[in-house]
Amino acid sequence: MEQKNSKRGIGWGGKTLKQMLEEDEQLFHETGYYYGLKELPLMKEDPLRMEVFFSRLLASAVAGRETARMITASPFVREVGELAVALYTPEGDCVLQSTGIIIHIPLMGEVIKWMISQDYEQDPGIREGDIFTSNDNQIAGMHPLDIYDIIPIFYQEELVGWVGSVIMEPDIGAISCGMMPMGATERFVEGLRWSAEKTGTNDKYSRFFETRIRHGCRFPDTVILDRKGALAADIKVREEVKRIIGEFGIDYYKRAIRELIEGERRAQLERVKTRMVPGRLRAVSCYENYYSKAMVPAHHRVDRITLVPIDVIIKSDGKFFWDFDGAGSWGWHANNCSPSALRGGACLLLSQQIAYTGKANQGTMLCVELNTPYDTYVNPSSPNVATMNQFSVPTNGGALIWNLNCRAFFSRGFIEEVIASALGLAGPILTGISHHGGPAFPPGATGSTPSGGCAIRDGFTGWALFLPNPDMGNVEVWEMATPLNYMGTRLLPDSCAWGKYRSGYGVIFTYLVYKSPQLAFEKLNLCRDEMIHPNIGMFGGYPGSRGFARLLVNADTARLIEQEKPLVHGMGCSGEAKLGIDVKGKLEVSTLGAGWFEGIAKHGDWYQAATPGVAGGFGDPIKRDPELVKQDLDNGLLSIERCRSIYCVEATYDQKNEEWIIDKEKTAMLREKRRRERLANGIPAKQWWQKRRQDLIKGSLPPLLKDMYNDSLAKGKRWPGEFTAFWNLPSDFKFH
């Protein structure tokens, strides 16, 4: 198709896309309705036709996603499903989204809006068959491994929309291999970057694009095949959209996609008003970045804890307002966040918690407002800031927001929606030589965390707030890709978050290094929680255990095999071998800060990743039904010591029948005794307040915390006043 005369735009009725975008924003600003739609005539006149129209479009996006999965070479895509596909208006507003990693859905729209604002229509031009690729988080995105491939949809020489696909890559040639290298402390070591570049024409990527990939990353075949999968998905949706336009008519299509967005906006407000309670919900998140010993430039070797307070305001008009006032400084580490990433987080949370009808789109996002103070952890001022793990706040803070929303569901009576939430994710990032002789492919499959306790039942064991990783796919496929043999996935006894309803149990994955001559493991903790556990418990339940990892090098595995002894499959319960004891070698344990394990692993060595994920318990643990306690005991997931000390349940083991017997009378006594102890030994909050206030005045707290508070006191507008008022300190208080 020829590029049109520059005065006549490629948008609707000869408008430029820039004009359409301005009109879009102006109409919403002036009327409060998406594109000024006060009425929804198509939906009103024939709702069934509209439903059929929507279903056809949605089916195309889902089918596109499945097409990509069949083409890709990456187990992340094929096995785990780390991809998503969405349809956009000409202005970049999402009309609908497939399943998958939906955190990216509004962000691909932001890339489209950015291209429009940069006048791509003039230069480099937008034509049928063009392909635009972006993973530049200065424009929009979660982290550079998530690559967006976006194509325009033309119909009768007008641009009628866009399709975007996102796929997460295992590597894009950053400073070290893997999804979120913690050593990437500035933008320039994050690997390949495409800043919304035109990477192909006529439905074909350019040769230069492929060459850059071939020469720029560790697994070029994977990245190239993923691009082809993404492009196939985009084309499938594009062609299906054209077919649907042919069926319904272009006029219907243009009006209906706008009605779908405005209809969803109204539905979202209505859902909030009918399921929640307006008011202010409050949390605080902490981000611990310990880089003093990391292999990064000297001026990046800083240990720092950063506060990000969170207020979730549910407004009386049904909108959310997320206020991050008081957020501390960004830093030279991999874990800063951005407003764009927070919008992704909002899409993720809302799509799963309340807007889960399958129709979440731009209309949902129009119901969320953010305050992300400039020059802070959630809105860094430097263009050179690292963006490898912008998930930090959406996963850590996002889990807290999930918890807060559940409090509003609980108050309104929708207790079946209440899950105390959980953070993610611990897993191996590795680099070295694979069993095939090339670079070692990083394993996935450890995204799974337990869920928090629910208001009406225990939490789930396989759950993840932010991606579908609980379904890790086929272990055998991963074993083909990575130089690791999966030796077991076990539940970790006593790892739950305690409560009347406990969380799910943590999981430990055990890997045996296979035919690799050298393998180095990096520590990964997306959520940046380490010494300070997130405030994720609910109504008397505790926050749960954190993730950790163990590496055993110089292992004498061959001896065990030769002697036909049991191998390692977990923590060493039920006669299985224990790492470092039955299998000897040099053992390192990490609580997943930043940096690398010291040991270099090779064939026969061991790696374990545990993902309790810090879930939240629900309710007072001494109110737990003793029958549920018995189930945990019988399943070998609860020690009798913690059964007594935390649940106040007495039980004895019946050897003959191989089960635990609850002593109801003693249990009642233990529980009554605990209540009396709480009443006798608990101190009035006022007394605690007086003591802690003196601690603060005297500066009796670790220097890292003093720096953390001083940082937020200097950065915040509202928060500093609330902090000093709570402790009755002078308004200009600072720690010395």
């Binding site: 009425e39 929804l40 709702p47 109204r266 009918t274 399921r275 309670v277 307006p278 008011g279 202010r280 409050r282 949390a283 605080v284 804890i305 009386s316 807060l404 409090r407 609980f410 108050s411 309104r412 009576g413 929708f414 009406i456 039942r457 009347k500 380490e530 010494m531 300070i532 556990h533 405030n535 418990g537 109504f539 008397g540 926050p543 255990s545 954190r546 950790f548 609580t591 545990a610 309790p612 643990p621 605990r674 209540r675 009396r676 709480r678 009443l679 608990g682 101190i683 009035p684 909050a685 307040w689 007086q690 206030r693 707290l701 670790p702 915390l705 508070y709 008022a725 709570f726 009755n728």
Partner: protein, 204 residues
């Protein structure tokens, strides 16, 4: 909703600002079983997946009110033990045991009993694996009801962080704008906690 047993709910259709919505209603006994955790999971799942029942709040409050040993009207359940109730012209936070914490706009935690887990042994009891919180950096605060000794909340925050006021509901907007039945008096939507800490400070 076809997966639901017949006779357990009814569904009608209504229009809300041009968007057709379906309405569902469950018998009080079903909601009661749901609250008590007695409803079979398959049934719960169908409720989660189905349309939401608009009369839930009233049934929910009615069921909870019947369980309470006291008569003050529940305006809003805050937690599984705490309720905002109407007492004369005041709105206070009240425990299911009857203990009264005071104005709902003041963080009830400051009227509770507390225990902070500070020793290694206390921390290890909860966290047996590597990566336990460090009590020098992290306060694990337990809040108990002074009336019945129930553990009402556990807070895990940086050492020295203010007690978190988890939820300050905008009750008047809720009742007047969302439920369409204003409460008999209006209260300013305002956090009153700092008035209490100011008073405590003046006593030192």
């Amino acid at each position: 909703m076809s997966s639901l047993p017949s006779g357990t709910c009814h569904q009608i259709s209504s229009s809300t600002k041009g968007v057709e919505m379906s309405e569902v209603s469950y018998p009080k006994e079903v909601i009661k079983d749901l609250i008590e955790g007695r409803l079979p999971w398959e049934r719960v799942k169908s409720i989660i997946s189905g349309y939401k029942d608009r009369d839930r709040f009233d049934k929910y409050v009615e069921i909870l009110q019947e369980k309470m040993p006291w008569k003050e009207k529940i305006l809003l359940p805050l937690t599984d033990e705490l309720y905002i109730v109407e007492k004369g012209n005041d709105r206070i936070v009240k425990c299911s045991c009857g203990y009264e914490f005071g104005d709902y706009r003041e963080n009830w935690k400051l009227k509770a009993l507390m225990h902070v887990r500070e020793t290694e042994e206390e921390i290890r009891e909860l966290y047996p694996y590597p990566g336990a919180p460090d009590p020098h950096y992290c306060e694990i605060r337990e809040y108990y009801c002074p009336g019945c000794g129930s553990q009402l909340e556990v807070e895990s925050v940086p050492f020295g962080y203010p007690a978190i006021f988890d939820f300050l509901p905008d009750l008047d907007s809720f009742y007047s704008e969302w439920l369409g039945r204003p409460l008999k008096t209006r209260k300013e939507f305002k956090d009153l906690t700092e008035e209490l800490t100011r008073k405590w400070g003046s006593e030192e």
